[in-house]
């Protein structure tokens, strides 16, 4: 069993306890109600469980030389919480949280049955990142911990691995042709990661609502080419060195990169989130994102290296764990794993480096024609529709050291609500090569 590396700095602050008096007063009543419901429905406790078999088949499916690390188990929650926009405004949200720190995935952690109580209001934006090696199998358990602030709702949640080839409905997360876990229940999804690429996942229950509310996360599969023996010569004479990383099994090193960064673009419509928090009718037709974000933050929060806490007079919970800091040495190649998960808008993005971006992957597929034709392309502006993902290389060989921007050229979205110079933007710092 191998646990994925979520950012350890993103863990809870020392001394912070969940469900204690540090929660804002407004949380108390629904939280108590939720805990009361837990207490009076003991039979539902049994339905909170994590399935995680041992990798004992002796086959090295991911090609990394270790036959016992091909099964990845993760445990996420589906529930609610708060995110802080870059102008300081707090928005109510639904999303996934991280429960890998509970048993059985962390044998030293609390019992799995305590997940709903311990993880109440600990949704994260974006959801915990999942990274796999090609060939690995993912047992992804999602426990629906209920929406603490919306005791009127009985919504299930689901996980949709967006772009998974040859998906089966049972693990596709669509609530129409599959079962979805009710509140206080777990569902274990199974995926064999046969195709490398940049994917993402999201809840598909009432997707216009649950995705707008924030149920989105990054999901990547790295290629077997990363595991080649040191010194392997690829097509065109490219020499693979141990530790080299590629976006795809390109065969020629053309998707090699030094540094990778998620660029998951999305937005939130504050009126919609307020309507959800205060249980007023949801306006779908008028939905319009006024807070746009990269990895769950608007500029300048994209530059904040720290976890952002959803404070309300208290430290709150560190719901936004993903900065978008791009620090490069001149000559390095940056891989941007770009996606758009907005429910309302198509976004374009560009950099001010003056060099084009090379698009080598689209929709978790290497840009090659069926007969191997190179169909990669260079752009200065990349247009990304909701549900699209791209693998984009930025080669800094010809970029003088300095500070540059990555931003949306859909300029109206360079804002955090009414605050200008925000939204989908971050900085690229290029330093001189050592």
């Amino acid at each position: 069993m191998q646990l994925d590396n979520c950012n350890p700095a993103a863990r809870r602050r020392p001394g912070q306890r969940k469900g204690n008096a540090m929660k804002a007063f407004r949380y108390y009543l629904p939280l108590i109600l939720a805990l009361f419901l837990l207490a009076v429905m003991p039979q539902t406790w049994a339905s909170i469980a994590v399935q995680c078999p041992e990798d004992t088949d002796g086959i090295d499916a991911d090609g990394d030389g270790d036959p016992a690390n091909d099964i990845v188990c993760r445990h996420i929650t589906g529930g609610d919480g708060f995110a802080t926009m870059a102008d300081g405004r707090r928005l109510y949200m639904f999303s996934f949280g991280d429960a890998d720190d509970h048993q059985p995935l962390d044998p030293a952690g609390p019992p799995v049955e305590e997940t709903p109580a311990n993880k109440a209001l600990e949704a994260e934006l974006p959801a915990p990142r999942i990274t796999l090696r090609e060939g690995q199998e993912l047992y992804l358990t999602m426990t629906n911990v209920s929406m603490v602030l919306r005791p009127d709702l009985f919504d299930p949640h689901s996980v949709h691995w967006h772009g998974f080839p040859n998906a089966a409905p049972i693990f596709d997360g669509l609530p129409e042709p599959s079962p979805t876990p009710n509140m206080m229940a777990s569902f274990t999804y199974y995926y064999k990661a046969a195709h490398p690429g940049t994917y993402f996942y999201h809840c598909h229950v009432e997707a216009a609502e649950h995705m707008q509310m924030g149920m989105i996360g990054n999901l990547w599969v790295t290629p077997k080419q990363n595991e080649l023996p040191d010194g392997t010569v690829l097509l065109g004479g490219f020499v693979h060195n141990a530790g080299n990383k590629y976006a795809y099994n390109d065969g020629d090193g053309s998707t090699f990169y030094d540094v990778e960064i998620p660029i998951q673009m999305t937005g939130m419509d504050s009126a919609f989130h307020d309507a959800s928090e205060f249980v007023t009718p949801l306006m779908f037709a008028e939905m319009h994102d006024n807070y746009t974000m990269i990895n769950g933050r608007g500029y300048p929060d994209t530059m904040d290296p720290n976890v952002i806490f959803n404070q309300d007079g208290t430290p709150g919970f560190g719901a936004q764990k993903t900065p978008t800091l791009i620090d490069l040495e001149q000559g390095q190649i940056l891989l941007m794993r770009v996606s758009n998960v907005s429910t309302t808008h198509i976004y374009s993005m560009a950099t001010t480096t003056g060099v084009p971006m090379k698009v080598v992957g689209r929709g978790a597929a290497l840009l090659r024609g069926p007969t191997g034709e190179d169909t990669s392309f260079e752009v200065n502006v990349l247009n990304v529709g909701g549900g699209q993902a791209f693998d984009v290389l930025l080669d800094t060989q010809d970029v003088p050291p300095g500070k540059y921007f990555l931003y949306t050229t859909t300029l109206q979205f360079l804002a955090n609500g009414d605050q200008e110079r925000g939204g989908i933007m971050t900085e690229i710092n290029v330093s001189a090569a050592p």
Binding site: I59, T180, F284, R362, T371, T375
Partner: protein, 470 residues
């Protein structure tokens, strides 16, 4: 273990399908709904459509005014079906109310000559009560569209749109004249949207209040129908002005061609659940680097942005490749005679496949698509992915009281399997097919005028090989 093929549900599904075959309007494999050319008589006229939020809206649309047509306005207009090389003639009569003004048709991507009518900005137009005739030679096979060329900001929004299918000289199992463009089944998908304010203003004859520059659509359509109306059959009587469904059904491994036609005002990132698409054509041209090269510039993705006015030819298939478990719940070490699915089939499922050739942890890689040995991975009759034949389902599903069931969940994770439904479940998946949502990933468009669910959502269904398909 008893095979599942003749479960109670499957038998019901077969009965239902037989009924559809008897009463359905089309029995031919791979045929698209539409009218055959090369000569067409269309009338532009008014009618009302139903939307999934329970509303109805006044539309202007095309009707098949030929002797064999029903002369009923439909949204979208009749799909015009012709063969490469045909000299296509379309005569348009303007039966719209006088306030609509002149109307016309433009045929993007065709070289058109006109006769009759009155001069307009883009082409010759039909005045109120008048007619005009357009003629072009269908030189290129592919998917095209037609729409109003008069006040198009208003008339296209009002519904004067339709698709054109030009079959190549290689025949009607091809999108283009190349083997890469061969398909088993094809479906036309016309994507549009609607700003209801405009339709109300037209209905109330408040033409001077219409401001198309303030266009704000709140409803989205696949073949002129919202979800779930687009799953009802072609020509159902309760949708007299929206005759075309969009509900592709296929068997595992079949190649489906989606002729995507976008003719509204917006881009829509259209997402295909279940598997990646392969885009082989755009704008009525094969994506090819040169003559004879086939679709070597085709591209794959899970989502493709539709662009207003653009058509695309999109291939989709589903074969459970590398899923990691047996979708039929076949048990290890058990023989499953193919004759239990089709009495004319011989042998056992996957007896063509030698697992020892592909023993894991050897240097032997599984063949990839395009390799000569790739076909060996699949059962030649059922298309089952044989490396997973007999591989057990990987997880334990929670008990029923922990779950919410959707209307298309058959109570089983297995294709064509036998499941128990929750009390009160509508049981809309009697054959235990695999349902895949195809939808706009601008998720607000999954609504009809503020009402969830609706809008630009539809489902494709992969059916068990024993389930007959029209």
């Amino acid at each position: 273990m008893r095979p599942h093929f003749f479960s109670r549900q499957t038998a019901l599904g077969i009965a239902l399908t037989a009924l559809l075959l008897v009463f359905g309007s089309s029995g031919a494999l791979a045929a698209v709904q539409g009218i055959e050319g090369p000569s067409f008589q269309l009338t532009a006229k008014t009618g009302s459509i139903s939307t999934s939020d329970g509303e109805s809206f006044l539309m202007w649309g095309y009707a098949d005014a030929s002797a064999s047509g029903n002369n009923t306005m439909q949204y979208p207009g009749p799909t015009l079906i012709v063969n490469q090389g045909d000299v296509v003639t379309v005569t348009l009569t303007n039966s719209l109310p006088a306030e609509a003004g002149n109307t016309s048709i433009v045929f993007p991507g065709q070289v058109v000559t006109t006769s009759g009518g009155v001069p307009g900005v883009l082409t010759q137009e039909a005045a109120t009560g008048g007619s005009v005739t357009y003629q072009f030679t269908a030189t290129h096979p592919g998917t095209f569209l037609y729409r109003s060329g008069s006040q198009p900001d208003l008339q296209v929004e009002m519904g004067l749109v339709g698709a054109i299918v030009v079959y190549p000289s290689m025949g009607r199992s091809y999108a283009y004249n190349h083997e890469d463009a061969r398909f088993d089944r094809e479906f036309v998908l016309v994507i549009t949207e609607m700003d209801p304010t405009i339709h109300r203003m037209v209905e109330y004859e408040e033409f001077n209040l219409i401001d198309t520059s303030a266009y704000y659509p709140t409803n989205w359509f696949a073949n002129g129908r919202n979800f779930p109306d687009n799953l009802s059959d072609d020509f159902v009587p309760w949708l007299p002005h929206q005759p075309y469904k969009f509900n592709p059904r296929l068997h595992p491994g079949e190649r489906v061609l989606v002729r995507s036609v976008s003719v509204g005002n917006q881009l829509h990132p259209f997402h295909y659940h279940g598997n990646d698409i392969e885009v082989i054509g755009e704008g009525g041209r094969l994506l090819s680097s040169g003559p004879g090269m086939g679709a070597d510039l085709a591209w794959q993705a899970a989502t493709r942005r539709t662009i207003p006015g653009q058509t695309a030819d999109v291939m989709w298939t589903w074969n459970a490749e590398q899923l990691g478990w047996d979708i039929y719940d076949h048990q290890p070490g058990v023989d499953y005679p193919r004759a239990e699915i089709d009495t004319t089939w011989t042998g056992n499922i996957c007896d063509n496949f030698d697992p020892l050739l592909y023993e894991p942890n050897t240097t032997t890689q599984l063949p990839a698509p395009g390799d000569p040995d790739y076909a060996d991975l699949f059962d030649p009759f059922t298309n089952e992915y044989c490396p997973d034949h007999g591989t057990l389902f990987p997880v334990i599903l929670p008990t029923r009281d922990s779950l919410s069931f959707g209307p298309y969940y058959a109570g089983t994770p297995f294709l064509g399997g036998e499941g128990e439904l929750a009390p009160g479940d509508p049981g809309l998946n009697a054959t235990a097919g695999y349902f895949y949502m195809w939808h706009s990933h601008t998720e607000k468009e999954l609504t009809s005028n503020d009402i969830w669910p609706g809008g630009l959502v539809t489902f494709a269904i992969v059916e068990h090989p024993a389930v007959p398909l029209p």
